[in-house]
Symmetry: C2
Subunit: 568 residues, 2 copies
């Protein structure tokens, strides 16, 4: 009898592992089990289905050549049997059996396996709020949720939406509502920033500011107490007040579905998630697992990490498929790369944010740079802001995050750093990282190299100063007389500010500093600023050498202040 | 007396090294020498100046904040002295002196140095063709050439152009002429492909086909014998005939300007170029060099490499600036990344092409894949073709090249592989490379991971077949009866071909193969094809398992045939 591989869960990891194994071992029998009747879909596409970018739900279930990945597809094209609407209720490792229940008939049965794959994914984290059961309150867990949300949206019955949670899905859903359907949308987030843990509050504020310009409202640092309404949702009550809502989306993260694994005694993390080795093998050598239900290794510090992303599931699924067939393939670690489109801008990152790095015990600092994403003389370009997180003592690059007009261009820099993350790179590895160059695509000294150079300069004490958040504090305190705000751009650029703030704004163009530095007070903090922080950096070096004691460069300059939303 | 650093050459490397050093060592004196009166410009922007994308030549000499990098700029802003229109004629290492001649006055003098930087760049390779001296025959060596070409182009006096050399500059100039100025343009190339040595003829043909569709003509495998005309150029005579021309651009590569270095006894390569260590130090510890006049190390096989690119010069310049100040910075090696925009498409690469890898002694093979550059269900997307070069025995990834609609998206994949090249990656390192994922920017199984998976499948013997060039040979030989061309797409896709080629085209949709394989001949080569090579790969696996002996997958499918220009 041929070997039988059973795969529990058929969304992303399961089908990949099953089909890969079957391609290598055409003689084997493979059975995919899923409790849903809809399976093998691109769940990450749900916000784009809701927005209308993806017109038909089936598009998320089709191959690139327009075939729906249903039972006959897997049978005929892939040679894989599918038991849909079938729930795996128990794994009997001793007898190598999976107990299943047909959810349509209620019939129970037992399936023998030689090797098993657990790809049970994750479930939206339930907030269990009073009023969650009201009509038009949704979690975004599967295609059924997606179809209900889309049906309501297209019917035009929602005028106001509240999204709870400013993570990836929350922000994507907010964009979908506001951009394509003109729904008045408010995002509520318990943390004081969007994308908590993914980037600094400074970078997050840039994304938030852009979304606000596009009409999305944010209530940060607020918890939701309850949802109210008469049958249907009517309002969301938060720690700070009430928000009217015809629809509520709750996207507060996901938790790994490790129950089956846990109950059969497989090693799991205390905080949730099945533990696997680099071969994606569980504590039972006949059972593999991957995707949203496992814990993997963080390439930055080798710590355990939960990284529920479709891309992880696909790559891990392929590794499992190979290992089921006796190959020794590995998935060593992940850097935690991400990218999210927010209307006309994008944010992306890899590795650790500054906050995450500190939490992990690194003595970390970050630097921020804003620069054109290709040759500054090339006519078609966008600005890109990058923030790099480095460890002071070891000079290791711990993370890179960004905010940019061209998400593709930014991803091109993020991927490059993600790729080297497992080699534990230091700053110099990014200073010299070879970004493919010609003027339409990069700068000769590319923004990616430049952010590493800036980190180098910061650690060397050559570039010292602050970001827009600290500038805003200084500026708010300008009446104290402790600061001299010095604009080192040419007069024409500084003139509007000199007129508006005659008492607080000073101007000496950078090139005139050697002749005019004696005009500057020696007893104040010199807060230097220019367009993007380049000239003010050079001015800071000059003034340092001239003996000024407290010279502070506004890193990112006016461009970052504007993106950050400083009102100046 | 303060230390004096002298820098010979002020285009890209020189200014970078000078300014970086000066920023670290504000007390030192730095002198930049250049024989031209125009210096510190972005030479890579010349084609975009000619095209009109860059309207004013000064834009190539300005900073991002619109200041022209002239003598006063370097003096006031950077604290660097400039001697322009000054030629360095001799380096006297014993006395640590540079002999210079003021080209305007003829006055000779001697400059003492403590440390020296040679950034003399490269010069266009002269073909010394009969007729080169005719009016309107240009090399593209500096801004003066650029200004002359641009003046002629804008005056409308050129109807027909010939570009000699199908390298980066040649192709960019051809685009500039044809796209923006409607000039009838022909590119002549001695090799049988565009971008020789940078990619395979197959990939090159895709770029060529696109440029032909945009109106550029190509004469490949032809040498230029002479240029003819009466005062002004009228025609170019090649090994195969004559081409009318009002303007001729000769872009046959560049050769490093190592004369000064060679004459003062610094170690140079036999094939040209100053030899430097990883600190960018020459054989004299007081003299550094970098940019277009040096030989660096190829990250793929640690062999010497000449890589004249503005991005190299900038990064190396920064390293030199640091080392002049006593830091120990390194530029260990380069992968040789490149990207070029060709009208609506782009080509890019890193590492070695298949041909270069074989020449370097690797037992190399390549695989080619065509796929959407982001989630296939996302409405805005382009196709990306990638070709990966791997070493059979060691599974090392030696190079990656591509052709795509979105150059930004392709560069995002190229950079990622470029970044890991110095770590000598194997296929698995790219299979698992963490491309930042969300549907608007990548596929869950991204095109970059997929090309590595394909290389894995090819080396495992699972995916066997051919590219469009070999398909074209088979198809040309279709009357021999040796082949069965089997279209495994659904009937609707195959139908036009069945109608057009009833004798030679067969169709069994992939899913029907298990039931219908007995219809297929056992004594012919089965040449499988689908849209992009995915279904035909799966069909090939099925037919292999069913006992067919010669099953050949057309990798890249119809999409690659079309891009390659196969007339079917």
């Amino acid at each position: 009898m041929s070997e039988h591989v059973v795969v529990i869960g058929a969304v992303a990891l399961g089908p990949k592992a099953a089909c890969r194994f079957k391609r290598i071992r055409q003689d084997a029998k493979v059975t995919l089990i899923d409790r849903d009747e809809i399976f093998s879909y691109g769940g990450c596409g749900i916000p784009y289905f809701v927005s209308g970018d993806v017109t038909d739900a089936n598009q998320l279930r089709t191959t690139a050549f327009h075939m729906v990945r249903d039972e006959p597809f897997f049978q005929d094209i892939k040679g894989v049997d599918v038991l849909s609407s079938t729930e795996a209720t128990k794994i009997d490792r001793e007898n190598k059996q999976v107990h299943v229940t047909d959810l349509k008939t209620g019939k129970k049965s037992v399936i023998d396996y030689d090797q098993l794959v657990i790809g049970t994914g994750a479930t939206p984290r339930k907030l269990n709020l009073p009023g969650e059961e009201l009509e038009n309150v949704f979690y975004v867990g599967n295609m059924h949720d997606a179809e209900k949300i889309k049906a309501g949206v297209t019917s035009g019955k929602y005028g106001k939406a509240v999204v709870v949670g400013a993570g990836f899905i929350g922000l994507e859903m907010a964009e979908a509502f506001a951009d394509m359907w003109g729904i008045e949308t408010t995002v509520v987030e318990i943390f004081e920033q969007i994308l908590p843990r993914m980037c600094t509050p400074v970078l997050a504020k840039m994304g938030q500011t852009h979304m606000e310009e596009q009409g999305v409202a944010f209530k940060l640092g607020q918890t939701v107490s309850r949802i109210e309404g008469n049958g249907k949702v009517e309002r969301v009550v938060t720690s700070d007040g009430e928000i009217e809502a015809d629809i509520v989306i709750i996207s507060a993260g996901v938790i790994p579905n490790d129950k089956l694994a846990r109950e059969c005694g497989l090693e799991c993390s205390e905080r949730g998630g099945i533990i696997v080795d680099e071969f994606m093998r569980t504590s039972d050598p006949l059972i593999y697992s991957g995707g949203d239900c496992v814990i993997i290794k963080n390439a930055v510090d080798d710590s355990p990490m939960f990284l529920p992303m479709g891309s992880m599931a696909n790559r891990q699924g392929r590794v499992i498929g190979g290992n089921l067939a006796g190959r020794n393939e590995t998935f060593p670690a992940a850097a935690g790369s991400w990218v999210v489109k927010l209307f006309e801008k994008s944010m992306a990152g890899t590795g650790m944010s500054l906050g995450a790095a500190k939490q992990a015990g690194f003595d970390a600092v970050s630097v921020m740079l804003i620069m054109a994403d290709r040759a500054h003389f090339y006519p078609v370009k966008d600005m890109m802001t990058l923030e790099m997180v480095v460890d002071k003592a070891t000079r290791r690059v711990l993370g890179l995050q960004g905010y940019a007009g061209s998400g593709d261009a930014m991803v091109g820099r993020i991927n490059a750093v993600a790729g080297i993350m497992k080699y534990k790179p230091v700053i110099e590895d990014v200073s010299n990282l070879e970004v493919a160059y010609s003027p339409p695509f990069a700068s000769a000294m590319d923004v990616l190299n430049a952010i590493a150079n800036m980190a180098d300069n910061a650690l060397a004490g050559m570039n010292h100063g602050h970001g827009p958040d600290v500038f805003a504090e200084y500026w708010a305190d300008r009446e104290s007389g402790d600061y001299c705000f010095l604009d080192v751009r040419e007069y024409a650029d500084a003139e509007p500010f000199l007129t508006k703030y005659p008492e607080h704004w000073r101007n000496i163009p950078q090139g005139e500093i050697p002749k005019r530095f004696e005009e500057l007070p020696k007893d104040k903090k010199l807060v230097l600023i220019c367009n993007t922080g380049g000239r003010s950096y050079e001015a800071q070096i000059m003034l340092d050498a001239l003996g000024f004691k407290e010279v502070l460069n506004t890193q990112g300059g006016m461009a970052v202040l504007k993106a950050f939303g400083v009102d100046i």
